[in-house]
């Protein structure tokens, strides 16, 4: 049997939190806008899922520029979670996304437990009445302004509270996006699992800073920003592997994925699906090339179901 016909036999679909994705490759939040922006280049129907830019109940203006700066094999961003707000998203962006045969995962955040809950509620209601939202991804790398600005995602207690509260609010599949800025990511994943999450995604960006030494000022108006891109990949892969050994819920792996080989590193380390973030900027067709590449790789290796490669790392 030729490689091509073997490729066709490869089963790429995966089940994440009860949602059956046609393949394990999705876009990561904040790097693919609301889907529209890349629709000129990318056939959205081919994607496993689209994760939209993080949304909050009220629109957010975001940080002043400069918001991005390049770093070795990576970039820092301090967008400041600029977004049009959940209502405008539902009204203006969701109808466009509904046209495509892919799954829509809505990333959301808040700056207090109340706001998280309200966001989840509004999204669940919209989904219940008109459909089009297949899962929620909760970004917990935000500070709780009601409780000393402690970042939810770096404090197990705060995390338990907010995840539990949101879990009670929504019946939609709930993915929690973990922050890598922690000592023990496995512990964080366990807390999230115990609080009722259906899946975890990781990693969010790693906090970094670049200094303009002549001006003696940070390059980003926000002082610090989140590092992403190939530079963080070894850290992200390690964290996925730690989380894989810590929890049973499925993992969506991300951090510096640019090629099929990179995606496979995450799958082998324990991810069930992967997301491409910064990679979209470098190569708008990265997701499509990875989907094709996974099929080819699995056929070559005689592994006919992508689920069989998840966690296949031998140590």
């Amino acid at each position: 049997m030729g490689l091509e016909s073997r490729e066709e036999r490869v089963e790429l679909s995966v089940d994440i939190a009860g949602v059956r994705l046609k393949n394990p490759v999705m876009t990561s939040s904040g790097t693919f806008g609301y889907g529209e922006e890349y629709s000129e280049f990318v056939d959205l129907n081919r994607l496993g899922a689209i994760v939209v830019k993080g949304l909050s109940v009220t629109p957010k203006e975001g940080n002043p520029p400069p918001r991005i700066v390049e770093a070795p094999a990576g970039m820092l961003n301090a967008i400041g979670l600029q977004n049009i707000g959940i209502k405008a998203f539902i009204r203006e962006k969701l109808p466009f996304l509904r046209q495509f045969k892919t799954h829509i995962i809505v990333n959301f955040f808040g700056d207090s437990i109340g706001e998280y809950v309200q966001a989840a509620e509004e999204l669940s209601n919209a989904s219940a009445s008109d459909g089009g939202i297949h899962a929620l991804e909760m970004n917990i790398s935000c500070p709780n302004k009601e409780d000393g600005w402690i970042v939810f995602g770096t404090d197990p207690k705060a995390m338990k509270q907010v995840v539990t509260a949101v879990r009670k609010t929504t019946n939609l599949p709930l993915i929690i996006k973990l922050s890598p800025n922690v000592t023990d990511i496995g512990l964080m994943a366990r807390v999230v699992e115990d609080s009722g999450a259906d899946a975890v995604s990781l990693i969010n960006t790693i906090i970094g800073m670049v200094v303009d030494v002549k001006k003696r000022r940070p390059m980003l108006a926000n002082t610090t920003g989140g590092l992403s891109g190939p530079a963080v990949r070894p850290i992200a892969v390690r964290m996925v592997w730690e989380v894989y050994r810590a929890v049973k819920i499925p993992i969506i792996g991300m951090g510096g994925i640019m090629t099929t080989n990179d995606a496979l590193e995450f799958l082998v380390a324990g991810a069930k699906a992967v997301a491409v973030g910064t990679g979209n900027f470098v190569n708008p067709l990265a997701t499509i090339e990875i989907i094709d590449g996974l099929g080819r790789f699995l056929a070559e290796e005689g592994i006919y179901n992508v689920n069989n490669i998840t966690g296949s790392l031998e140590i």
Partner: protein, 261 residues
């Protein structure tokens, strides 16, 4: 509409120490760019530098008869442009474009204000409406006025200023503008591209005048397609102030709308 495509490098020649002219030809049929639009160019084959860099279309040729060529005029500034400068004839390069709104094409006489590499972005309108532009061209020195002969031939009048006085008046172009009747007494539309300082200076200058100024802005870009929200500028819009994406809602804005910090 913009496209993502592969192109081959036809030429990447040095005009002087740090200015180069890159000519590429798309390897697939592509649409032709408008004046003031730009392209995101991949500058190397590794992850360092990682992101594409934005460059204004300087000249496009042959889109009507199929021998498409895109020309970019660029200055070597940092890692990305240095890497770009190392690409050679025959090398492949991935490109996104044409991007952005571009300049509204003037109908009659107009004023052009170019600072340094800003000339690259403005060249297409000079070319489109030959001999209708009053060109104010500022640069650091004689060497930076690379395509002086060409733009002279395309302009109705040209006024030059260099920081060191090596050509034209000594000083910054905004100071020259101050005393020009074209700004004081006229109402010709203005097209400007150059350093933020120049644009800010222009904004002060025309504050009380009834002149429409189209300015093309510069900011770090990651995606170039409106997805990352990285390249914003604060503008007034329906009484509130909002961040707009330079790559999507720009790069050309009405100077009046811009909220300088």
């Amino acid at each position: 509409m913009s496209e993502y495509f592969k192109a081959a490098i036809i030429d990447n020649i040095s005009l002087n120490e740090d200015l180069k002219l890159l000519t590429i030809t798309p390897l697939v049929p592509t649409i032709s760019p408008g004046a003031g639009q730009f392209y995101m160019l991949q500058v190397g084959n590794t992850y360092d530098p990682l992101l594409k860099r934005p460059f204004s279309i300087f000249r496009s040729r042959g889109f009507d008869y199929g021998h498409r060529r895109l020309e970019f005029l660029y200055k070597i500034r940092g890692k990305g442009t240095l890497c770009l400068s190392n690409l050679k004839k025959g090398d492949d390069i991935y490109v996104i474009g044409p991007i952005g709104n571009g300049y509204p094409v003037p109908k009659e006489d107009f004023v052009v204000i170019a600072g340094g590499m800003g000339i690259a972005s403005l060249y297409p309108i000079l070319e489109r409406l030959k001999k209708r532009a009053y060109l104010f061209y500022g640069a650091r020195n004689k060497d930076e006025l690379i395509i002086l002969d060409e733009v002279m031939a395309l302009s109705k009048e040209i006024i030059i200023a260099t920081d060191d006085g090596s050509v034209g008046q000594k000083g910054v172009i905004i100071d020259v503008l101050k005393s020009s009747p074209l700004i004081k007494h006229n109402s010709l539309p203005v097209y400007a591209c150059g350093p933020a300082l120049m644009l800010k200076g222009l904004s002060m200058l025309v504050k009380d005048a009834k002149i429409t100024c189209y300015v093309s802005l510069d900011e770090y870009m990651a995606c170039g397609v409106g997805a990352c929200l990285g390249c914003v500028v604060k503008v007034r819009s329906q009484k509130t102030e909002v961040y707009k994406r330079i790559c999507k809602e720009g790069p050309v804005f009405d100077l009046e709308d811009i909220v300088w910090d």
